[in-house]
């Protein structure tokens, strides 16, 4: 074999491998295995305050669950769950933000204890989670623009665009009962109504209470036809948590008997009989108040985003260094590990990797907190690109450099440290800058695993203000500033280091 520099001896490669294992072990150490302990012990811990009841909710569905201007979760479900938990003797309750479609998987993965997010009790869901008694009778309703006179009944939806929220019951119901409707599947509740207001869809089919609340708050839409279904909301529990469910059922009955339940209901839904189609509220194109009113939560989200970027960037560099050296190792199996890492991680979508780590790994007993999962996923993903950057930069250093160092008697590790890596690092800077700009932008995707970073905070603000334009422009600007800072920093470091070029 022709001399191929740089070569790494066993010592260097073993050290790299050890570091890799430690790097992987660190998050794994924080992982808790799925508890085999019986639910009774869990209930005792909840009552003693030793553990916290985690309630998964998608706070973009007023009036059931949404956030106020300070970012605090409020709504009918929030009030009722707090009351039920208190009545059940549970000391600490924490609401965890997640997209609606992730709530049932999160229960199965033991990420949360309760799902409280205006969830319909359906036979499909009941196969994998258990439900409380019915706490609120709901049903699907049909909503159209106030100016729309053509859609009056379910039959009129044939050939029309109907906005529905991904993962909700409306999707399957429409497919069965009005297959000729063209479904427009959107991620959040507010996007459904917006798409009708903006002409992207002709109608919304969604839970009647949510639709009425929107009309009450924003106007511009009206309900048409009768209730499409007569269905019921329940709180969802893990199959193994029957005692938590029983306690909630008992508490629910107590709330009804005492009249507390009616109070909570009228607080959020007002007079059930009113079907007012409120006036369309006038407002400008840009509403700075949408930002200023939520300044605190936005800055908190930005802080979380910065934390995610910093930690995943460090992890990305670590994985990239290990991967790059692995690919350059003269030990075949290690080279192979590097190749597989890059080919698998670069060859699959980031969002799939993220969901695999957060929702998939718990089935193997590896349960990570959202932050750890998000940072690990970002670091792994970006690290695969950094691997190629590191490999390319090291290979681009003239092989005479390694020869000169080795011919003085320097070990390959010393040569790498003092001679090769400093030169390679300078060459890495421009592509690393690009990669970290990508990482910054990708960090918005970890909102999918319930991390309240900038993008998710923005979405929750929109679910309350229905002002997508201002909020997305603002958030886009923040990311723009962040990515430019990274670009400028990379340039500045390069300039400073390039004294010898």
């Amino acid at each position: 074999m022709k001399n191929r520099f740089p070569r790494f001896g066993w010592a260097a490669t073993t050290a790299a491998l050890l570091a890799a294992l430690l790097g992987l072990a660190a998050p794994a150490a924080q992982a808790e295995t799925t508890p085999a302990t019986p639910s009774a012990g869990k209930m005792a811990d909840l009552r003693s305050g030793k553990s916290t009841l985690k309630v998964g909710t998608d706070a973009s569905f007023p009036p059931f669950e949404f956030t106020d201007a300070n970012g605090t979760k409020i709504g009918f479900d929030i009030d009722v769950v707090r009351e039920l938990a208190a009545k059940s003797g549970i000391k600490n309750v924490e609401f965890v933000q997640m997209p609606f479609g992730n709530i049932v998987p999160a229960l199965q993965a033991n990420q949360i204890d309760v799902g409280a997010s205006a969830i319909y009790i359906s036979p499909e869901r009941a196969k994998v989670v258990d439900f409380s008694e019915i706490y609120y009778p709901g049903g699907l309703g049909m909503f159209v623009s106030t100016s729309n006179d053509t859609v009056k009944t379910l039959a009129d939806l044939a050939g029309k665009k109907v906005a529905v929220q991904v993962g909700t019951k409306s999707v399957e119901w429409l497919r069965q009962n009005q297959p000729q409707a063209e479904l427009v599947q959107v991620q959040t509740n507010d996007q459904m109504f917006s798409s009708v207001k903006l002409g992207q869809a002709d109608a919304v089919v969604t839970g009647q209470p949510g639709g009425r609340y929107f009309i009450h708050e924003q106007g511009g839409l009206k309900q048409v036809g009768d209730r499409l279904t007569n269905e019921n909301y329940g709180f969802a529990f893990q199959k193994s948590d029957s005692d938590i469910r029983e306690a909630f059922n008992t508490a629910l009955k107590g709330m009804r008997d005492s009249g507390d339940f009616t109070k909570a209901s009228s607080k959020w839904f007002g007079d059930e009989s009113s079907t007012a189609t409120g006036p369309t509220k006038e407002r400008g194109i840009f509403n700075l108040s949408s930002i200023t009113n939520s300044w605190g939560p936005l800055m908190q989200g930005l802080g979380t985003t910065l934390q995610i970027i910093a930690l995943s960037l460090a992890l990305s560099l670590l994985f990239g260094m290990l991967g790059g050296f692995a690919k350059l190792s003269h030990i075949r199996p290690i080279r192979w590990i590097g190749k597989v890492y890059v080919s698998v991680v670069r060859g699959t979508p980031f969002i799939v990797q993220l969901f695999f780590i957060y929702f998939g790994l718990p089935q193997l007993g590896i349960q990570l907190s959202p932050m750890v999962a998000g940072i690990l996923a970002l670091g792994l993903y970006s690290g695969s690109y950094v691997t190629e950057i590191v490999r390319g930069a090291i290979q681009s250093v003239d092989k005479g450099q390694m020869e000169a160092a080795r011919s003085c008697g320097m070990s390959s590790a010393s040569a790498l440290r003092h001679v090769i890596i400093p030169q390679a690092f300078l060459r890495m800077l421009p592509p690393l800058g690009n990669e970290f700009v990508s990482l910054t932008k990708n960090s918005a995707l970890v909102s999918f695993v319930t991390i309240s970073e900038l993008f998710l905070v923005g979405q929750t603000i929109i679910s309350r203000t229905f002002d997508a334009l201002t909020v997305y422009v603002f958030i886009g600007l923040v990311y723009y500033v962040l990515t430019n800072i990274i670009g400028l920093a990379a340039n500045a470091i390069e300039k400073k280091m390039a004294v010898y070029i």
Binding site: G400, E403, A404, S407, G409, M410, S414, H418, I501
Partner: protein
Amino acid sequence: MALLETKDITKSYGDHHVLKGIDFTIEPGEVVAVIGPSGGGKSTFLRCLNLLETPTSGHVVFDGEDLLAPKVDLDRLRSRMGMVFQQFNLFPNMTALKNVMLPQMDVLKVSKKDAEARSMELLEKVNMTHRAHVYPNRLSGGQKQRIAIARAVAMNPKVMLFDEPTSALDPEVVHDVLDVMAGLAADGMTMVVVTHEMGFARKVADRVVFIDGGKIAADLPPEEFFAESNTNPRIRSFLEKVL
């Protein structure tokens, strides 16, 4: 005992046989000039002496140790064999002084203070003290090569290997580098020099080794090698071209 010895080394790249069995020895204090036509295997031979190239077969024995033995500490042995390259191979990311200091500190574990003192001394010897704190990109080829020589000498090697040290230099600075090398030879340094500088071979070398077609075709003192009486047709035709 010979300081450095090769026993029947060969080197092949696939079907391409560059070295076809070379036996060579050098005694302490000797200066050997290795000359011959391009592609004849001179540089490959030199690079086999400190195992920058691994011979396909044969033995390389340095200071009584077989470099190709399985458990040999190659780094330790290489630290006692200085090497100077055609393209200098200075470390561009450090100043001239740091280039000379690094191997002493890293390999010989010399303190920073001592390494700096010794390096400045050597830079003085090669007339480069005024450029000590300059990065290599600011140096001429001749200056770079003198610093590269200082870097190799700083390790107190028992033998120094030169791989066409003046081939990449402008003609007017070649003699600066050759002067430094002649000075080393005068101080008793053992040297193997692959070169096209016939004047150096004639004046400074104790022996001239002529490598052609992967074999040593002649190994003679310079006065015999360059004498009219040397009628070897390959050597005659080579000398006619280079002189």
